[in-house]
């Protein structure tokens, strides 16, 4: 779990309307010193350290500006994320082999 502080694996809650059967792991986010967004949003982002930087299950890389977006929840197919550094909306999708990927939503 390299990318985020791990808080607890709780009963599932979903940002979407569809009831999820498998609970999502939850995360308590800490401030990683990302200073490119207003202070109240900083814990939701961190710098990407390059190809060797392994993303945690609650993290995704912004395809536009290469910043790591962080959520309080484990990410799943269909989730929406916002990159406040470049003002982009991103959707999480299941790619080949079930690996989660990001798609920009315009």
């Amino acid at each position: 779990m390299s990318g985020s502080s791990h808080a607890a694996a709780e009963a599932g809650d979903s940002p979407g309307k569809i009831k999820e059967t498998k609970p999502r792991r939850r995360y308590e986010l800490d401030d990683r010193g990302f200073d490119e967004v207003p202070r109240k949003y900083r814990k939701y982002y961190r710098k990407w350290e390059g190809p060797d930087d392994e993303l945690a299950p609650n993290e995704a890389l912004c395809p536009v500006c290469k910043i790591v977006m962080r959520s309080v929840r484990e990410l799943r197919d269909g989730d929406q994320l916002y990159c406040m550094a470049c003002m982009t909306r991103v959707r999480i999708v299941s790619g080949e082999n079930g690996r989660l990927e990001t798609r920009v939503t315009y």
């Binding site: 202070r39 949003y41 939701y44 500006c65 977006m69 309080v72 929406q80 003002m87 920009v104």
Partner: protein, 256 residues
Amino acid sequence: MSEVGEVHDLDPEVFEREVRTFDHWFGAVQDYLSDLEHGHRADIASEELAADEVDRLTTALCNYAVAETAALEASSGLVRLAPNHASKIFLATQAVDEARHVEVILQRLEDIGVEDPAAEIERRANPAVREFKNRLLYLVDSNQWDLAIFAQNVSLEAMEFSAFRAHATVGDPVTCDMLERMLRDERRHLGFGENEIARCLRTDPSRGAQIASVKNELESLAINTFEYTAKELEVESDTITKLGRDYRDAVERLGL
């Protein structure tokens, strides 16, 4: 500081409105632009540069100066063309960012011993970046909102984003710190451009052909400038190839 719920749960309209406000811009820049000296941290010791390093850095900075001046003149002109208040306000913040970039680049040129930066820019700037500037300003002057936004916030910004990241892998500490602070601004400009072009294409798909034509016309100028500058700085060719993908990825996402 007010607490917020999960930021990713915001309504898309609330998000769109918020990120294009002056308050958002100010909250984003206030820490990374505080307590700087000439656009970089004051406590970074200046490295002694060899004559050939100064020469290469001067050429790179001269090219950046032309690109940033192009963006300053174009983004301020685009305020008048923007189709709504949110875009006008965003472009005004971009004009401020670009003015700061021009200022710190000119200052860096002076700091490394260039006595007359304007004359040096005139002497050294690559013809491709000059031509790019002329074509961008022509699009602004002829009121071509979407074409000018594509040229500036997609082509030019992606080129700068790649060039600054490449430079930051090989540059001296002072220049790297200055460029990394400029990159933080460029992220906003890139994102605005890509989202705005996508919105234009959604509203009027027939504009795609004209935007693609501007893309074809300008991308070789942008790529040539990036590759020329990166090679001048002796950036590894692998890094040049990888960073050059940013622009191609953006164009691919837009379907152009």
